[in-house]
Symmetry: C4
Subunit: 245 residues, 4 copies
C-alpha cells in the first residue's frame, strides 16, 4: 500500500501551529505559575512542567499524523541525516521548510501567550548560559534524540506522544537548565520577559549545546541500535505514516 505524505504546505502548517502551541503552553503556564504561586519558584516549575507534559503529549497526538510532530529543528535535522544515509526522510527543501515553520511558530507562541495574559511582548532579560546549563542542554537534547529515534528504530513510534511528554517533564527537573532541548523553542522564548523567557545573549550557546547534544544522541543511537539504523524509513520519525496516507 503506497501512501503519499500530505502536501508540504500542510506539513509546514502543522509544524508551525504545533510549535506555536508548544511555546504558548511553556510560556503561558509559566506566566500563570508566576502570578498564582509567587512565593515558591519550585512550585512554579512544577506547574510549568506538569502543563508541558500534558500539552506536549496532546500536540504530538494531533500533529503527528500530518508532519511527524517534530516541533524541533534538532529532530528534523537528525531525521534528514538518517534519511540521507538510507534514502528516506526529509529532503533539504523539506528540512528548511520545517525549520522555518518551527521557528516562526515558536515566536508566534510567545506572542500568543503574552496576549492571552495581557503582559505585553518584550525581549527577555533572563541570562541562562552558564557552563552547567550548557552541559545540561547537551544531555537533554541527546536524551531526546535517543528517545525519539530509538522508538522509531523499534517500531514503537505510537508511544512517542506520551513518551516525549514524559521525557521533557523529567528533564525540566533533572537538568539544571530546565531542558530547552529545542533551538526553535529557544528562539521563541526570547520574546517573553516572563518565567520561561531567555535573554538573546544566552541563545547562541544554548543552540550550539543542543546541536552537540543531537550529535551525541545520534552516536548513542548508532551504538545501541546498529542494524535498525540502516533500514531507512523505519528509523526516522514517521511523517504522515502513522495512521493515514
Amino acid at each position: 500500500m503506497t501512501t503519499h505524505p500530505p502536501a508540504l504546505w500542510r506539513r509546514a502548517l502543522a509544524e508551525a501551529l504545533g510549535t506555536c502551541l508548544l511555546v504558548a503552553i511553556v510560556v503561558g503556564s509559566g506566566i500563570a505559575a508566576q502570578q498564582l504561586s509567587p512565593d515558591d519558584v519550585g512550585l512554579q516549575l512544577l506547574q510549568n512542567s506538569t502543563a508541558t507534559v500534558l500539552g506536549l503529549t496532546v500536540l504530538i497526538l494531533i500533529f503527528g499524523p500530518i508532519s511527524g510532530a517534530h516541533f524541533n529543528p534538532a529532530v528534523s535535522l537528525v531525521d534528514w541525516i538518517l534519511g540521507r544515509r538510507a534514502g528516506g526522510g526529509l529532503s533539504v527543501k523539506e528540512l528548511c521548510t520545517y525549520i522555518a515553520s518551527q521557528t516562526a511558530g515558536a515566536i508566534g507562541g510567545s506572542v500568543l501567550a503574552n496576549t492571552m495574559f495581557e503582559v505585553g511582548t518584550s525581549i527577555s532579560g533572563k541570562e541562562r548560559a552558564t557552563a552547567g546549563h550548557l552541559m545540561a542542554e547537551v544531555v537533554a537534547t541527546a536524551g531526546l534524540i535517543l528517545l525519539i529515534f530509538s522508538l522509531a528504530a523499534t517500531k514503537r513510534s505510537s508511544l512517542a506522544a506520551p513518551a516525549v511528554g514524559a521525557y521533557i517533564g523529567a528533564a525540566y527537573w533533572f537538568t539544571s537548565s530546565t531542558s530547552f532541548a529545542n533551538p526553535a523553542v529557544t528562539v521563541g522564548r526570547i520574546f517573553s520577559d516572563t518565567f520561561a523567557g531567555i535573554a538573546p545573549g544566552s541563545v547562541p550557546g544554548f543552540v550550539l549545546a543542543q546541536l552537540i547534544g543531537a550529535a551525541v544522541g545520534l552516536g548513542l543511537l548508532a551504538a545501541l541500535f546498529p542494524r535498525d539504523a540502516r533500514t531507512g524509513n523505519d528509523v526516522v520519525v514517521p511523517h504522515a505514516a502513522n495512521n493515514r496516507g
Copy 2:
C-alpha cells in the same frame, strides 16, 4: 455488521450524568483546594487541574460507548455540522436533546458539589470576562475541537479519554481563563460561589468566545485533515460505536 445507537433517552441520561459529574469534579475539587490550601492560589489550581485531568478521563471512558461523551454543546454542534455535510452525525433533534441534557447536568453538578461540601448553592460573583480571558477561551475551545476531531479523523478515538483529560489539564494553565471551553459547563459553574464559579455577567462573553473557538477549530481541521473531513461517520466523535452496538 449494523449497530444501532442506544435509545436517545439513554444517551441523554449519559450526557446529563457525565456533565453533572464533570462539573462536580471541577467545582468540588476547587472547593476542597480553597479550603485545604488557603495560602497559595497556584497550588489550589494545581489540585483543581489534577483532579480534572483524572476525572474527565474516567468520565469519557464510562460514557463514551453510550453517547460519545461530548459533555459539551460546542462538541455536539461540531459533530452535527460535520455530520450534515457527510450524511451522519447527530440530527437536529438529537443535538437539541444533547445540549439540554448537558446544560441541566452541569447545573446539577454545581448543586451536587455544593451539597457534598455543605457550602450552599448561590450565584457566583466572580467576574472573568476580560479581553485576555475571552481570547483564551477562543484558543482553548479551538484546540479542544481540533484534538477531538483530529483523533476521529485518524481513527484514534480510543485515545480520546486520556487525550482530552490531558488537554484540559494543560489548558487550565496555558490559557489565562483557566480554560472553560464548554458552554454547558460555563453555565453550570454560575451556581457555585466558590473557586471555580463564574458570575452570570461573564457568561455570554465566554460562550460567544467558545463558539468562535469552535469555528476556528473547524477551520483548522478542514485545512489539516481535508480528505478525512469528508468521510462522514469517521470524522464525528463516535457515539455508541466504540465498543458496543
Copy 3:
C-alpha cells in the same frame, strides 16, 4: 478454551495482600505527607492522592489476573449480585472469603505503614461522619461501581488498572470525604491515628453510605448498559480471566 480460576486460597492471598498494600499506600503516604509538609493540608492531600493513583494502578495490574483485584467488599458484592442473575461471578463462599481477606489485609496494611514509619499502631480519633461526607461516600462508591462494571460490560477491563487509579485520584478531591468508597479500607484505616485515619464511631455511617452508593451504582449500570448487564461472565470483573487460566 476452558480456563480454571486459580485456587481460592491463592485468590484470597491476592485479595489480602493487595488490600494490605493499598492501605499501606494510603496510610503510609499520608504519614509521610504530614511529616514532610506540615504547613499545608492541601499539599499533604496532593501527595497522598498522587501516591494512591500510582500505587492502586500498579496493585490492580499485579493482582488482577489472580483474583480480579477487587480489594473492596462493595465490588465483590456487586460482582456476586450480577453473577447470581446471570449464572456466573463469585459464589457465596467465595464472596465471604474475599470480604474476610480484604478486611484482614486492610488492617494489616495500617499496621505495616505504622511500622515502617515507626509511629505505633493506635485507634484513630479522627471523626469524619458528617452529612456532607456521608453523601460524598454515596457518590464516590456509586461512581466506582459504575466505572468498574461499565468497563466490564464493554469488554474494556484491561483499562481498569489506570482507570480505577485515576478515578480514586479525582475522588480524593471532588468528594468532601476524600473518598474512602471501600468498607474494608475504611475498617483498616481505623488502626492508624494519622492523616488517613478514621475514628471507629464514623465507620458504620461510612460503610452504610458505601453500600447505598453501590446500590446506586448498580441502578445506573442497569439503566445505561441494559443488554450487557444480562450477559453473565462479561459483566463481572474478570477474575483469573485477564491474561491466564
Copy 4:
C-alpha cells in the same frame, strides 16, 4: 523465528547508560527541588518523585529492547535465579557484567548530576539506616520484584515501563525510606551530598534489606503464579525480546 540478543557489550552499555541516567534523574531533580523549594521538604519530594516517575518510564522504554532495562542488580539476580531453574535468563557471566555496568553507571549518574548543577561531587553525610527504613526497603524491593516478574509471568511486560515508573512514584511516599529498592542506585547515591544522597555507613544495611526484599518478592511470586514460574523464558524480564532480535 529465532532472535539473538544484542551483543553483551551493547547490553552492558545499555545497563550502564540507563542506570546512569536514572541516578542523574533522582539526584538532579533532588538538587533542583532543594534549590527551588527550600521551605517545604514534602514539596521537594513531590518534585523529586514526579520527575522519577516520568524519567524512569522513559528509560525503560528506550533501553528495554536492548538489555531488558534492569538498571538494578536485584532484578538481574532474580532474572538469573528464575532462568537457572528453567534453562533461560542471564548466565553468571552476563549477571556479573550487568551488575558491574549498573554500579558504574549509577556512580556516573551522581557525577553527571553534580556537574550539571555545579555542586561538586562529594560523599553524602545523610544517615538513613533506621529500623523503619530498613523494613521499608524490604517492602519496597519485594513489591518491585513482584511487579516486574508478575507482568512477565502474565505476558504483559510491554506495560513494565509505565508500571515500574508508577510503582517507584508510589513507593517514594508509602515507604519511610523513600524507596531506594536498588543496590546499584544506592551505591551511586553515595556520591552526591544533596537531597537524594546516602551516607556510606547506611549502604550495607540498605543493600542487605533490598536483597531480603528480593527474596520475599520471589517467594510471593512463586505462591501467586506457580505454573508460570516454571515456564522459563516467559518468567524472566525480556532481554532483547520485546521488539527486536
